[in-house]
């Protein structure tokens, strides 16, 4: 008999596959939004590992998403396309490996970013990750073979309901399992009191890096899914505002909360679609929401039990 959490994961995957079989009957626009929800859940849950559970404030999540999107896009659209065609394997079978490659690429970049910067604390880390996100964007804009600032076009749309929500289910499961493991205790210790954790003999940098690299990995997978959903990616699409959207999902849901963050990801994706016609008014609402939330309910909207100390003070 499998542990309950794994059964839940298998059931979720089966449900995703089942719904996916009927996805051709769903209206294209609605399907697009729904698949976007799956991707945003991955992004929010993975950032929650870093910002919520480990208490490190990263503002460059969109950068890792970009790395994953470009890595996966290169495999299916760029130089990798001929190779895949030559191998004779159906692209749909290869897609999970493409996603994995995107995730790994993002994880490698995450390690390169995290190893030096995670020695910093609080607002410094926020600025450095923000800076790295911008640097990744600038570098992508300058690589002509990836389309430069024009972006990459003609990416095949492999992202189906199954892949979007299957990956989301796996992300949630992985985050849940990680947080409930010995490593997770380390994360929480770092979030609660870094100095005390260090005094207890924990290698705090190691825990921070593990959380950071795992978060980057899943952000990369989300990027791969995003690229194969929209069919077009450009460096400008992964800017600071994108990172902020993910941060808002985590904060709204309650940092260090699984369910709240998933609810927030769903709500905000739908809200973004509803407010699309209002353009910049949408961001006014978001930013006002952020301020009010911090003033009135810093533990997040969807947190019912007493909030963890590190966040509510």
């Amino acid at each position: 008999m499998l542990p309950r959490s794994q059964i839940v994961l298998l059931i979720s995957l089966a449900t995703a596959g089942f719904i996916s079989a009927f996805s051709s009957r769903i209206d294209d626009y609605i399907l697009d939004v729904v698949l976007g929800i799956g991707i945003n859940i991955i992004l929010a849950v993975s950032l929650n590992l870093i910002n919520g559970f480990t208490g490190q404030f990263s503002l460059g999540h969109a950068g890792f998403m970009a790395v994953g999107a470009y890595a996966a896009g290169t495999l299916t659209t760029g130089p990798g396309k001929a190779w895949i065609a030559a191998s004779g394997i159906s692209p749909a079978v290869l897609f999970p490996f493409v996603l994995l490659a995107g995730g790994l690429a993002a994880a490698v970049v995450g390690l390169a970013v995290g190893a030096p910067s995670l020695r910093l604390k609080g607002d410094y880390l926020a600025i450095v990750t923000l800076g790295f996100g911008e640097i990744i964007k600038v570098i992508l804009q300058n690589i002509e073979s990836l389309g430069g600032s024009r972006g990459m076009v003609g990416i095949p749309s492999y992202t189906t309901f199954f892949w979007s929500f299957g990956a989301a289910a796996i992300t949630i499961y992985a985050a849940w399992a990680l947080v409930n493991s010995t490593l997770g205790c380390g994360f929480l210790a770092v979030a609660d009191d870094e100095i005390a954790a260090e005094a207890m003999g924990l290698n705090t940098t190691r825990y921070k890096i593990i959380a950071f690299v795992t978060g980057a990995f899943f952000a990369g997978i989300a990027g791969g899914l995003y690229a194969h959903l929209k069919g077009y990616i450009s460096p400008a699409g992964f800017d600071f505002n994108r990172s902020i959207e993910i941060v808002i999902m985590v904060i709204l849901g309650g940092m260090g909360r699984h369910v709240g963050v998933v609810i927030a990801a769903v709500l905000l994706t739908v809200l973004s679609e509803k407010l699309r016609d209002f353009g910049d008014k949408r961001m006014i609402v978001y930013s006002a929401l952020l301020i009010l939330l911090m003033l009135a309910r810093p533990q997040g909207l969807f947190t019912w039990k007493s909030a963890r100390k590190a966040i509510a003070g």
Binding site: G55, F57, L59, P116, S117, R119, L120, G122, D123, Y124, A126, I127, V128, L130, G131, F132, E134, I135, V138, I139, Q141, N142, I195, A196, A199, F240, I244, V247, I251, D280, K281, M283, I284, Y286, S287, A288, L289, L290, I291, M294, L295, P298, A310, I311, G313
Partner: protein, 298 residues
Amino acid sequence: MTEFLQQLINGISLGSIYALIALGYTMVYGVLRFINFAHSDVFMLGAFVGYYAVRKWGIPAGGVAGGLLVLCLAMSICALIGILIERLAYRPLRGRPTLSVLITAIGVSLLLQNLGQSIFGANPKAFPRLFPEANLHLGQLSITSNQLLVIAVSLILLVALHFIVHRTKTGTAMRALSFNATASSLVGINNDRIISFTFGLGSALAGAGGILYAMNYPSIDPLMGTMPGLKAFVAAVLGGVGSLPGAALGGLLIGLIETFVAGTGWSTYRDAVAFAILILILLLRPAGLLGKSRSDKV
């Protein structure tokens, strides 16, 4: 050689604007220990006050008196906005974890940017001419009067700031507060009032920076603050957060480095350079060039 001198002057001119903004970051960090993300948007508002003062409120610009009037107006309005932001958004969070304050600051920054986009319009606007303009030619060097003006105004403001911080009672209180907040309130300093004053002072400098920046790059939009703001922040860190001379030095250095990088074939990377410097400085000398390293007390 001429090329070098030309870039040097451009760099100093840009750097002194960064220095003005960086001072605001450093002062606020000194008294409250957090990065005021909204500072770069106060800088943007400064430029827009200048725009509206000339275009809509009919302040005659183009002469020295009119230009100075606009500059003072922008500084005072920005000071008020800064005090207001502190009063409404940051003061209620006093004593809360830094993370909450940081998130609020990001929220305020986004709010100002997006309100700006919906009130001013997202399209870039042409910034009016504030001061009489002329081109000076020294050999093959070409210096605009605006560049000289930027350097002169920055210098005057720096000296004034130094005077306020080191020679007045309020300045002494500011330094006491940044040294130890509890002890300063014990000796009868009204911390809240000093923090308000610090925000006002920093925001006034940002407003002046906004006007000066817009004079040299006369196309303004509600998102114009982000990049100069981030670079000024890097400048503050480079000089050592909390150190006023450090912020000025850091601003100059960032301006110079950026200008020289832009002058070589790497101009597309000019925005990335500042961040590379930030990462290097945080790894090699986290206290900054002129800062003192502090260790955490448990």
